[in-house]
């Protein structure tokens, strides 16, 4: 079976020097996952769990310490990040950034921002590039009159559209979205999410959708990956994971939603005791990383690290010695 994107035992360590000795911060610590053409995969987890590092490895703006990033069966990990900008594969993997204000050049008009992407990635001349910009503006519903404006003259939703237009103008096969709606109002967020959903179908793209807004992930994604301290602790179909989370950390994430999914009142958030995660610097390889915060935390958890494995005959995988086995009934 061929996957569009595949990550095999992907690792990235950052050296940390303290008191004369060098230790390793395990930002991404052995990630295996794949993404099929046309699929939308959500990536959730707390800040500091390594989501952004993983995204930078996959979009090849950062070099891995070990492991492979395979895109259409080519090992992109062999291309150095600094050479990736001019590599022909660049236009196939594009990214939409979190803050639509910070990620736009304040001295470029919307047209210049999008046209730069067209020229660099598609190698089009000026006249053709302009026509292409008009076309992509129509895709994202940006009135042409706004193309001549600078970012400070645009609203948040309009800036988000410019960021999306810049990313999809090269017709990428994979679009990586890093919290694309976090800075937007709820009604604007709805419009942008529906726009993304439509573009995905019309342009036949795959999405990797990074977010800590679980409600948005639930509505947009086919599959979800839950990340904790550099590792994936649970993966599976979105419906199944949301309605019957098996990993204690996933359970805590979902219970933390205000008035959670099933309408219960807050309180279940105490599922995570302690509060602060363990240090990602040289973590003990023979110990579960949730230990100390996990309400279970039994003896075996301190003797070996659980690995991601199937718990039933569904595509679900969980890294826990004591997963919550609840039969998920599809209604």
């Amino acid at each position: 079976m061929s996957h569009l994107l595949e990550s095999i035992d992907l690792q990235r360590y950052f050296p940390v020097r303290k008191n004369g000795e060098t230790r390793q911060l395990h930002a991404v610590d052995g990630i295996d996952f794949h993404l099929a053409a046309g699929e939308t995969v959500g990536l959730v987890g707390e800040s500091g769990c390594g989501k952004s590092t993983l995204v930078r490895l996959l979009t090849r703006t950062l070099d891995p310490s070990a492991g492979q990033v395979r895109f259409r069966n080519h090992d992109l990990g062999l291309i150095r990040a600094r050479d990736m900008a001019r590599h022909p594969q660049r236009k196939n993997i594009q990214m939409v950034f979190q803050d639509p204000t910070d990620s736009l050049n304040p001295r470029y008009t919307a047209r210049q921002t999008i046209a730069e992407s067209v020229r660099l990635l598609c190698g089009l001349g000026r006249a053709q590039a302009d026509a292409r910009v008009d076309e992509v503006a129509d895709w994202v519903g940006l009135p042409h009159a706004l193309l001549e404006r600078y970012p400070h003259q645009l609203s948040g939703g309009q800036k988000a559209r410019v960021g999306i237009a810049r990313a999809i103008v090269s017709r990428p096969a994979l679009l990586v979205l890093d919290e694309p709606t976090a800075a937007l109002d709820v009604s604007v967020q709805t419009v942008i999410l529906q726009l993304l959903d439509r573009l995905k179908r019309e342009l036949e793209m795959s999405f990797l959708f990074v977010s800590h807004d679980l409600n948005v992930v639930r509505l947009l994604c086919d599959r979800v990956l839950v990340m904790y301290l550099g590792q994936i602790v649970e993966s599976g179909n979105t419906d199944a994971v949301f309605h019957a989370p098996a990993h204690p950390y996933t359970r805590a994430l979902i219970a933390s939603l205000p008035g959670a999914i099933d309408g219960q009142t807050p309180g279940a958030a105490d599922l995570l005791v302690g509060g602060d995660p363990q240090s990602p610097i040289d973590p003990d390889p023979n110990r579960c990383r949730l230990l100390g915060r996990c309400p279970r935390g039994l003896a075996p958890c301190a003797e070996a690290a659980p690995v991601l494995s199937a718990i039933d005959d569904s595509p679900r995988q969980v890294a826990c010695f004591y997963p919550t086995l609840v039969q998920y009934a599809r209604h």
């Binding site: 707390e46 800040s47 500091g48 609203s155 948040g156 976090a182 109002d185 709820v186 009604s187 604007v188 967020q189 709805t190 419009v191 999410l193 529906q194 959903d197 800590h212 807004d213 679980l214 409600n215 948005v216 639930r218 509505l219 947009l220 805590a252 994430l253 219970a255 933390s256 939603l257 205000p258 008035g259 999914i261 309408g263 009142t265 807050p266 309180g267 958030a269 995570l272 509060g275 602060d276």
Partner: protein
């Protein structure tokens, strides 16, 4: 001016304008609301609807360009507008406290967090330094910061976002205020941290009978933690009511659209409906009586008439000529029965 006896905060007909080079911005227009002792009121609405302008006006920390052109502000019977200077400085931080949106920006980056808490205690109680430190350590423990002795000397950059937010709550609560204004206290935090912070605010306000004004654009958060919700649109309060009732039966078309746009509880992306149009330009001098009229699907000729909040029941009010009144028939009937 009549006062509701149990109201801790009473805002009546408050209008705030901003004078800018491109014209006068009518940011708040005759806003009225009351907050009882121990009550939690959620203030929701889009960015630019005036939520923060209202909270800054209550705290007396509004921008230099802002002008309060009408209305009154009373806190525990005191006229806040008459005492903007020294009297306000003794109230602020002791009786009225505020948690700001971005803790990293709001905290002083070059002062240890413990010292920042001690500063507030020292300013308002005048106890000596050692006692201030002792009290500050208690505050850090109260917001459940592990190892307060060690964290006392930390600078904001050494703490995570959630920890910084806890420090800001500790500063706000250091002098046991009677009113806490929390302006988007959990925006940008993880869901797990958000749940912990909201429970902390909730528990502390219950234990101390503290009133809380929670400003948020996350409706599901407001519903989970607030007794009542006030919906703001373009400088008007368009609807106020008990949280569960307002969520189940919104009467103002704007409240209805806002709830329909919230991803929480929606079955599919296609079930979400966005709100058409944008907030009107508040610099206009010909703003319509109903500032939602230009975006409203229920707009009719009667909508151009003067408008104010009118009660639908003892607890639920709406500012709309064509409110979705049939939405709460049961409640109105029972009210009639009891009053008959």
């Amino acid at each position: 001016m009549s006062h509701t006896p149990d109201a801790l905060l009473e805002v009546a007909g408050l209008s705030v304008d901003f004078r800018t080079r491109s014209g006068t911005v009518h940011a708040l227009d005759k806003v009225s609301l009351t907050l009882a002792s121990g009550e939690t009121l959620g203030l929701v609405g889009e960015s630019g609807s005036g939520k923060s302008v209202l909270s800054f006006a209550i705290m007396g920390i509004q921008d230099a360009a802002a002008r309060i052109s009408a209305g009154s502000l009373h806190f525990a019977g005191q006229d806040l507008l008459a005492n903007r200077g020294k009297a306000m400085r003794t109230l602020r931080g002791r009786e009225l406290a505020m948690i700001f949106q971005n803790p990293r920006v709001a905290l002083n980056p070059i002062r240890q967090v413990g010292r920042q808490i001690a500063d507030v205690i020292s300013r308002h109680t005048g106890v000596h330094a050692a006692a201030c430190r002792e009290r500050a350590l208690q505050c850090l423990a109260e917001v459940r910061i592990p190892d307060p002795e060690r964290r006392y000397d930390a600078y904001p950059f050494e703490l995570s976002g959630g920890m910084c937010q806890r420090v800001m709550i500790a500063i706000a609560l250091a002098c046991k205020p009677r009113l806490l204004i929390a302006d988007e206290p959990t925006t940008g935090l993880d869901v797990t941290t958000q749940a912990a912070i909201m429970r902390l605010i909730h528990d502390l306000s219950a234990r101390r009978q503290m009133s809380t004004l929670l400003i948020t654009h996350d409706l599901s958060l407001a519903r989970a933690y607030c007794d009542r919700i006030a919906v703001m649109h373009a400088g008007h309060i368009v609807e106020v009511g008990p949280s569960a009732e307002l969520f189940a039966h919104p009467c103002h078309p704007y409240s209805e659209r806002l709830i329909a746009a919230t991803p929480h509880g929606a079955a599919a992306l296609s079930a979400l409906a966005s709100i058409p149009g944008n907030l009107p330009d508040l610099r206009r001098d010909d703003l319509p009586a109903c500032r939602f009229a230009e975006r409203c699907s229920r707009y009719g000729a009667s909508c151009d008439a003067a408008l104010e909040l009118r009660p639908l029941s003892a607890t639920h009010s709406v500012a709309c000529h064509r409110a979705l009144e049939d939405a709460i028939p049961l409640r109105l009937e029972t009210e009639h029965v009891t009053s008959a």
